[in-house]
Amino acid sequence: MFFHIVLERNMQLHPRHFGRDLRDKLVSKLMKDVEGTCSGRHGFIVAITGIENVGKGLIRDGTGFVTFPVKYQCVVFRPFKGEIVEAVVTMVNKMGFFAEAGPVQIFVSNHLIPDDMEFQSGDVPNYTTSDGSVKIQKESEVRLKIIGTRVDATEIFCIGTIKDDFLGVISDPGANP
């Protein structure tokens, strides 16, 4: 889910940046450092939308660097266990399929795919119902429920299921509109 939250960060700036554009340099350094990163607590920081407050700078002992506490508003994407999300299928194999919901990757194991869907290998591997009415393949849009999340150094990875009510394929790229 996307949230709009306020975060705080201590930014260190080299004295060569001091001057008229100090604030601009601070903001662009913040954007470069923070946008696109991921933490277990806040999720993916997608974009910074504004700077709320820049505190007084503190000169570090021994070096000329100055630390500024910066409060900023940003859009984050944080998946939660139990959340229902829409995702796009990126890869299908006999163990299950991978899907992406924004920056986060979700794996749905074949154990968590309805029993009436079978894996079909071939040029376009897919899961299909016995009557062929529903198909999950690359680029299909699916609604799934996140049942677990794991945080790496740089990204969050989720496990999902489509075995509950109202979950499964939303749209099939191969179907006629």
């Binding site: 996307f2 939250i5 696109g36 859009v75 924004g102």
Partner: protein
Amino acid sequence: MSGEEEENAAELKIPDEFLKAKCLMNCEVALILEHKYEQLQQMADDPMNQMSQVFEKSLQYVKRFSRYQNPDAVRQVREYPSVIYAPYDALRTWEPLSRNSGRSDSYGSIHQDQIIDVISAIVSFALQTRGRAHDDEAIEKMLNDLSLIKKFE
């Protein structure tokens, strides 16, 4: 990591800072990210270089799964809860009439018994609807209103 075992969005068991934060719809995020993308395009020659993969993937995702395309429709949907609850807010801030209050002059023509009847009718209506704010009929109405916004987007 140990705290994550307790998390469950289905039961709204999520960290406090997210419960209090503003949750964004995909269409709202699309508006924000598109605006940022345009800013980047104006500022730099090569916006693709400046965009992180997270930004790019998020932008593609929200554009694809936006329910409402029109910014006006997005605003209407965001403001919808305040429209629903406006009558309740009005009721809460309503000041009861009292015989000795300065306003009694303007209500001089209304009989006191009538005033009591009006007050009790309003209070019983409020009590009735307070607990049932989310009963089936109300939910049905909300769904219809939201689908109308989508229809006339």
